[in-house]
């Protein structure tokens, strides 16, 4: 299509107008017209594709126009992973990447690869698709050789056409070879989730053969989003659909005693739905659902406010009994011993101690949760922007009393989600409401719910100790985190117990514990790093329940760890990079640290610089700081140069320098914007973000009370050294660079001001107070 713009617009406009609604399918096969009812019925009844991972047909299909569709059991949260998947498939098939479409996160069509999780899309999720595509090429070329009457060795492939070497006119296309599919078995490792893998007889290409992988192919999703043709999950509409709005208590843990249904009489199309302690209003029009939900009078139970005051939070974290720890919690406990480290530290010539505090932070997605459900007698269709559609299907099936196969969850793009956000909540609420009303229901949270009721990144207190011997060598190292569990809300929605509506309708919250320790290779003699979790503040439908938020808990951990390493460097009179280099073991960590020193023209000397060295003028003080982060197969070192305005306390992280090694680079273009997004989001979490609450409720309920980084504070530049490692498999890029930000900024602020701030976020008020 040369200029599709106007055509798109008018066809979409017609889509949902009135009763004679028709769906125009403007596919390449011409115009087919279905009524919306027919089309929904078809979607519901559509048999699942054979999605056994061991079938090659599960992974790839070809259409008559010569396009390839590949089925990916993860999804894109806005970093362009579908484009990378298309590159990988195109590469192995020897077909133009523009012919490859990627279907993501549809439980009827994609294998269960664990959804978006742990920066795993490229480092794990792409591998079965690569292997499947390589095997597909092998099968098709074998068929071609047969048809063309030549040995396989004499066949060559160019953009999906197989021809005889030296006789290009003797050729046949993939499309003509595919017939009814591949009908080919793959070796499957038997796993589902992130570790699912398959392989065929074919050997995938080696890196030196790559022509498409590793190049800056334009993100496939961008034009649709820019030209307003992309159907976000939020755009999906079903005929006869009701709009739902949920009612939340003014005091956390209060339950409805009575509901005055007459209070919504002005909106005759609205009605109240109550199930257990869950209340919602549904209406034919969205506006009436909103108005009625705001007008509804509910008499709530008189509940003792469940929370400490915000001022008491860190004391609670210090003093509460441990609920779990690294030896017993997490995926598998890791035993630890504190005595040798503590003994070494107290025996040392000098002791250094510091304690760092990180408050609750909110996922605060760009749009709060939404979900759409059409629950019928024996089947349910759910649209969600979940990160893990297969897990959500299991949880939804349980909530609805169905078998998982009866539930189809279709992922559609939504606002970026970076961990276990509120993304799943509305889909579960919509499913319950649809089951009760026997109508499709779309639930859209309001802004206040997105901020106040989404799961939070766990607050923590981190205690660090080190001993220095008389030669200023580190003689002992102690790193202890006390925080709320990162699994208070589990990282997927496999069970309704991990959703608000589940907990309000009788599912007891689970009790799972995890936090984490920094993963870099620093070697300190007599060192210990461990965590303890404390009991959740409220064990049912809590607005302060906690979960993974981008790079699980590593931003918190690395704020403390990388700040403390700098404190030790200052105490021992060493340059912060030098000190790090002398303790790192891993060659890739050393390489990124050296690279960032070069990139930033790092001037090797202890911090802080003295004022006479000219680290500022007037109210503006300047400083540089460094931080490392290793996680999910990515290795990052970041230097930040800040300006601190002593009159206002405002910190401007003016320049960032990032050295980034995530193995083989698959797409340098989308990698760059992904890293930039990490750095900016990390800056926001460092400078701006703190959930406010009182004894009753979360009180930061919108963008005014929970500010994120504004464009006025955005850096002037982010320079990135993307270190390509063609010899190494691709690692994760979705999270590690964010982890490096808090430490780099905090260290730069210390360098600029000589004052160490050990509490996030570094707001102007806090900075001013610290400067005295």
């Amino acid at each position: 299509m040369n200029s599709p713009f106007n055509k798109i617009k008018s066809s979409r406009r017609n889509l949902l107008k009135g009763s004679a609604s028709l769906v125009f399918a403007l596919g390449s096969g011409g115009l087919s017209i279905l009524t919306i009812e027919q089309s929904i019925a078809q979607t519901l009844a559509e048999a699942p594709r054979a999605i056994g991972p061991e079938n090659l047909d599960t992974w790839l299909s070809f259409d008559s126009a010569g396009r390839v569709t590949t089925y990916f059991g993860k999804m894109d949260m806005g970093q362009g992973v579908d484009t990378v998947i298309a590159q990988i498939v195109a590469e192995e098939l020897d077909i133009n990447v523009s012919r490859v479409s990627v279907v993501m996160g549809d439980t009827h069509r994609t294998p269960d690869q664990g959804g978006a999780s742990g920066s795993s899309a490229c480092r794990q999720g792409a591998i079965p698709l690569r292997n499947a595509a390589a095997e597909a090429r092998r099968v098709l070329v074998t068929r071609a050789a047969d048809v063309l009457g030549v040995p396989v060795e004499q066949c060559q492939v160019e953009d999906g056409t197989v021809s005889v070497s030296g006789a290009k006119d003797r050729s046949i296309t993939y499309m003509d070879l595919i017939a009814d599919g591949f009908d080919t078995d793959l070796d499957w490792n038997g796993n589902y989730g992130n570790s699912l893998n398959v392989s065929g007889q074919a050997t995938p290409k080696t890196v030196d053969q790559y022509q498409v992988v590793g190049t800056g192919v334009a993100r496939k999703d961008i034009p649709g989003k820019i030209l307003a043709t992309t159907e976000f999950c939020h755009h999906v509409s079903l005929p006869g659909m009701l709009h739902g709005r949920c009612i939340r208590p003014p005091v956390a843990n209060a339950v409805p005693v009575s509901v005055d249904e007459n209070s919504i009489n002005p909106w005759p199309d609205a009605r109240v739905i109550r199930e257990g302690d869950f209340i919602a209003v549904v209406a034919d029009t969205e506006w009436h659902a909103i108005k009625a939900s705001q007008a509804l009078k509910v008499n709530w139970s008189d509940t003792t406010p469940p929370f400490p005051t915000q001022e008491e939070l860190f004391d609670y974290l210090r003093n509460a009994p441990a609920a779990s720890d690294s030896a017993t919690g997490g995926f598998r406990g890791t035993p630890y011993e504190t005595a040798p480290a503590l003994a070494a530290i107290s025996a040392a010539a000098q002791q250094i101690e510091a304690e760092y505090e990180v408050p609750f932070q909110s996922h605060a997605r760009m749009a709060p949760s939404m979900g759409l459900a059409d629950v019928r007698e024996n089947q349910a269709l759910i649209y969600s922007d979940t990160q893990k559609s297969h897990n959500s299907r299991n949880g939804l099936a349980k909530l609805l009393g169905m078998a998982p196969e009866q539930v189809r969850v279709i992922w559609k793009p939504g606002p970026g989600s970076y961990g276990r956000s509120d993304a799943d909540e509305a889909a579960f609420e919509a499913a319950l409401l649809s089951k009760i009303t026997k109508r499709p229901v779309r639930v859209q949270w309001m802004r206040q719910e997105g901020h106040a009721w989404d799961p939070k990144a766990p607050a923590c207190v981190i205690q660090c100790k080190a001993g220095l011997d008389s030669a200023n060598n580190i003689a002992g190292w102690y790193f202890k985190t006390r925080g709320f569990s990162g699994w208070d809300v589990y990282f997927n929605a496999n069970d309704p117990q991990d959703t608000l509506v589940g907990q309000l309708t009788g599912y007891a919250k689970g009790d799972r514990h995890n936090f984490g320790v920094p993963g870099e290779s620093y070697r300190f003699t007599d060192s210990v790093a461990f965590w303890e979790t404390v009991p959740t503040l409220l064990d049912r439908a809590s607005p302060l329940r906690t979960s993974h938020m981008r790079a699980p808990q590593e931003p918190q951990l690395h704020f403390a760890h990388e700040s403390f390493i700098d404190e030790v460097a200052t105490a021992s009179g060493l340059d912060p990079i030098e000190l790090r280099l002398s303790h790192l073991q891993d060659e890739r960590e050393i390489a990124v640290l050296e690279a960032v020193a070069r990139l930033s023209n790092w001037d090797s000397r202890p911090s802080p610089a003295s004022r006479s060295e000219g680290r500022g003028e007037g109210n503006i003080l300047r400083g540089r700081g460094v931080s490392m982060a290793t996680s999910f197969g990515g290795f990052v070192a970041t230097v930040c140069e800040v300006e601190v305005d002593t009159s206002t306390g405002r910190i401007w992280p003016r320049r960032f320098y990032v050295a980034h090694d995530c193995g083989l680079i698959l797409n340098p273009r989308s990698l760059r914007t992904t890293i930039e997004g990490n750095i900016v989001q990390g800056t926001s979490r460092t400078l701006c973000e703190e959930v406010n609450f009182d004894e009753s409720m979360v009180t930061s309920e919108d963008w005014l009370s929970y500010p994120i980084l504004d464009v006025m504070e955005a850096p002037e530049s982010i320079e990135i050294d993307m270190i390509n490692r063609p010899d190494l498999p691709p690692g994760g890029a979705g999270e590690p660079s964010l982890v490096s930000v808090p430490g780099a900024i905090a260290n730069a602020v210390f360098e600029a001001t000589g004052v160490r701030i050990r509490r996030l976020p570094l707001t102007p008020e806090r900075v001013k107070a610290a400067l005295g």
Binding site: S3, P4, F5, N6, I8, K9, R12, L15, L16, K17, G27, S28, M77, G78, Q79, S101, T215, G216, A218, R219, K220, D221, I222, P223, G224, K225, I226, L227, A228, T229, T230, H235, T285, W287, H288, A364, M366, A367, G414, P415, G416, Q444, M446, R669, R672, T673, T674, G677, I679, V680, Q681, T683, D702, W703, L709, D710, V711, M712, A714, I718
Partner: protein, 185 residues
């Protein structure tokens, strides 16, 4: 219910709704537009931005009754037969979105501002955009796109030097822009 008439992307439109219903619900609902989005409903994020009589406004708080007789432009209506708006072309070229949910606000604010005066400094671009939210942190790419769009519009350059072919059914993109610059930088 009363009916309100206005011009939407060059076409007359009539919407029946309660007088106090914000414009956004008509645009997203009955009119099924994909550009303006619900982000906050509080005029705090910009996801719902449209251009009303030449000014970028937040449609999530503007009652539909206040729109009667006005001229509205939306992201959906920006492209012409000749191709995308220069701001859109710049956002595509710079890949100035992560999730893309906020992007409507940034683009529509820039369209209104740069159509008024494209001769803007980098600082003036930031001043124009302050207050808009992007949770994914796409700010750097957005600022590059804004610069690119301003320069193109200041030179009155059309986007013809950028060939964008896009099939919305398949999301296939054929984009002939200077992509190497980023890859090499």
């Amino acid at each position: 219910m009363p009916s309100y008439q206005f011009t939407l992307d060059g076409q007359p439109q009539a919407v029946e709704a309660d007088a106090d219903m914000p414009l956004l619900y008509a645009l997203r609902g009955e009119l099924a537009l994909k550009g303006p989005k619900f982000g906050c409903g509080l005029a705090q994020c910009g996801a719902c931005t449209v251009i009303l009589n030449g000014t970028a406004i937040r449609s999530c708080i503007l009652p539909i009754s206040a729109v009667a007789g006005t001229n509205l432009r939306t992201l959906d209506g920006l492209p012409t037969e000749a191709g995308p708006h220069p701001v859109q072309a710049a956002f595509i070229a710079e890949e100035a979105a992560q999730c893309g949910y906020c992007t409507n606000g940034w683009m529509m604010t820039l369209v209104a501002g740069l159509e008024r005066d494209p001769n803007v400094s980098d600082q003036e671009i930031r001043n124009m955009l302050t207050g808009l939210k992007c949770r994914c942190g796409s700010h750097m790419a957005i600022l590059r796109a804004a610069r690119r769009a301003a320069d193109a519009m200041a030179q009155d350059a059309t986007v013809q030097d950028q060939v964008v072919q896009f099939d919305p059914q398949t999301d296939a993109v054929d984009l002939d822009v200077d992509t190497d610059r980023e890859a090499q930088a």
